[in-house]
Symmetry: C2
């Protein structure tokens, strides 16, 4: 038998979407909610109109665009909750496997999780209702994932600011039901920040169960933004990234070396600057001399970039060329591509075209990692069982324009050799990012 | 008479420190405070010990380092409040002029402004005490700046979240007293965010009086950080930058095209990524198609990067090589170098050495702008009256290692031509920052 982890140059890509979305049409979550929450659910449904009005006011929704989107993509959008149609959409896009977040509908929120426990999960949700809503989604998601389970890693919603026993219980239950990762609120709001040791049992359990902990863009300090869309867009990628430095500097990765933490749909363009500034701080460079000699209190004993390489990853919906250019600073193993299916800001249903536009000159082995092998390792997908499907649907490096017309894999590698040698310039003796000859 | 704005290749640099600090030993602010606040001032003095303990606990202060710092730099540190000694320190550093922020002592806070109205100025200060403390500093600072006034632009502290009439009155009074810029709280905390139209009279007045509005790093969400220094260091540059996107996206620069807004001692390494993401949002690129067609509501009618070029600048204490490498993306006119005198994380008393280390290969005309001409234009320094002093004390391009040994100004320009042509790559048809040949 062929080794499923070995690829010839032009073998089809094994593609994992590290960011996709599924959710039931909201009303249908009722049957997954305990009946004592049905009255509260009716109230919640009544408030949805107001929410839709808010996003329209902020400019996040264009009515004409929405109408056309739903008309044009009727069949595929049903893949938001219908596993068979979903697999068809994945196949057409060349995607072998996926990491499944909530909220399939990003245009009119028709599939939102009860009680605000979806992508907008926040620390100030009512703890009981928040957990009930999260559980309803988690139960349904486990059913969805049970169809083609080898293709799906379902992300359990876990409001970890709730009662600790409930939190640990839900993580265990989610794992047993087949889900594979834990999404926590990006914002703790009025609850304990994530440096607090009260969360250590949560990190310990996720490490033990090998469930990556993730945030996803969605919640933000909206009550401060008025109706200014640009402020929201600026900050909606900052809030989900914020837990990263709370965990890192408070020693969570020192205490739980096997824990994986991922920031999803927040991009990764902001990471190089942080890595540079963090490593410099740790190394005591200019500006840090006045600090106490035990400034890190044993919480950080190696370079912050080393924790990032060991513990952190980014889930990238429609990665940008600018970000790919920075991949040697970010760390290629830390970048997991995604489609954002079925959201309109993602690449579906034109993923194959987007892959060409984005990856046409990226070395093949690096592309393999970012497009799938990184996520397969982090989320525990089984290459052996999925490889035949990937062979059938995955685009090849030639399809992506990387190989052919006389270009070899070695040519691509050579093109980037200088940039790669610069890498994290502050560790390689270079002054500037990207520039080999300075 | 020679034109003071024209420089020959190796003329000494006209240097302006766009970030320096001055403050009275705290007890001495008493005489600048109205007597009705003296009791409150006694209470404030009593609380200082607790503050010192807090920074020590967080690891921001190393006792042994502090002792040596004060012993070694006794004379120069007195320049924190003594104008004669201050001018001597500036001369020795080669600095012709300076923009003066509060809080001379960044090691033990011995010169802090009453009632927390210094660098840590926040929206949740008691409005009356906050304004009283700010005024005490502003009054004293005007006296300091009256010695060698052509060399100094004093920054008035103005807690703009206080009563509007008081705010406008203090800005006018500060201007009349000789101060030249307005520092606002970086964080509004529980007050109205800066997109609120209630602040329009403040922006209008600052535009009218040609007083740049600035924030300075200092305040941060410390109550969320526990004693984790790394979290603080990560966020202490984010909070002072935050008002920038609130002003930009809410149309403040559209309504007040002559207003200048600066972020000081927050670096500028974070700006390229934001410019790229903002311009893309404005241009409606992938991911923005679903937005309403009037998403910006007339508040933003040109590229965000165009507002940045017209209205925004950064004050850079000890600019880093990484940041200089990104100067064609950031915009050279938007970068104002500073010493951070007399803070230990700044370049004083070794500024000449730091200039060599940092600027040795940067084109001379660009260096002239960043080291002084940008700040001279923004803060209204008079080149004519200061040029003789600059000729006497300023280092030359040869002193900085830029020219000589056969290197000409044209050689430096040629070295960077490719990187310059890339510039803001999303506007010049390049996919990646910095890289000319991709």
């Amino acid at each position: 038998m062929t080794d499923p982890t070995v690829f010839a140059d032009n073998d089809p890509y094994f593609i994992v979407a590290a960011d996709s979305h599924a959710g039931l049409p909201t009303e249908q979550y009722r049957e997954f909610l305990a009946s004592k929450y049905h009255d509260a659910f009716d109230d919640f449904l009544g408030e949805r109109a107001a929410l839709l009005e808010e996003v329209t006011r902020m400019g996040i929704r264009d009515e004409a665009y929405a109408k056309k989107w739903f008309e044009d993509n009727d069949e595929g959008l049903a893949g938001g909750w219908d596993a068979i149609k979903r697999d068809q959409a994945l196949d057409a896009d060349g995607v072998a496997a996926e990491v499944v977040y909530p909220d399939a509908d990003a245009v009119e929120s028709r599939t939102c999780v009860p009680f605000g426990a979806g992508l907008g999960l926040r620390g100030d949700l009512d703890p009981e209702l928040g957990m009930a809503g999260a559980q309803a989604h988690n139960r349904w998601l486990a059913e969805l994932c049970a169809v083609s389970p080898e293709r799906r890693c379902g992300v359990a919603l876990v409001p970890i600011t709730a009662e600790l026993d409930d939190v640990l219980g839900e993580i265990r239950r989610a794992k047993e039901s087949g889900l594979g990762a834990v999404m926590i609120p990006a914002m703790w709001v009025n609850q304990a920040p994530y440096h607090d040791r009260r969360y250590d049992p949560v990190w310990a359990l996720c490490e033990e169960l090998q469930m990556p902990v993730v945030t996803h863009s969605g919640s933000a300090a909206r009550d401060e933004y008025g109706d200014h869309l640009g402020i929201y867009v600026t900050e909606v990628t900052w809030w989900p990234a914020r837990p990263l430095w709370f965990l890192l500097w408070s020693g969570v990765f020192e205490r739980f070396p096997g824990l994986r933490f991922g920031v999803t749909e927040g991009g990764c363009w902001w990471l190089p600057g942080l890595l540079w500034s963090w490593d410099r701080l740790f190394m005591g460079q200019k500006g840090a001399e006045k600090l106490g000699r035990d400034a890190f209190k044993g919480n950080v004993t190696m370079l912050p970039s080393e924790y990032v390489d060991r513990n952190i990853f980014t889930g990238l919906a429609n990665v940008k060329r600018r970000e790919l250019g920075m991949r040697y600073e970010i760390g290629i193993p830390n970048m997991c591509w995604g489609t954002d299916f079925p959201h309109p800001e993602g690449t579906w249903p034109n993923t194959r075209d987007w892959l060409v536009k984005t990856f046409f000159d990226i070395p093949v082995d690096e592309t393999r990692r970012m497009l799938g092998l990184n996520a397969a390792e982090i989320f525990g997908f089984d290459l052996g069982s999925l490889r035949p499907l990937a062979e059938k649907i995955g685009p090849t490096p030639e399809d992506l324009g990387q190989l052919g017309d006389g270009r070899t894999a070695a040519d691509l590698t050579a093109k980037w050799a200088g940039v790669k040698a610069v890498g994290r310039h502050w560790l390689t003796g270079h002054d500037f990012p990207l520039l080999p000859d300075f």
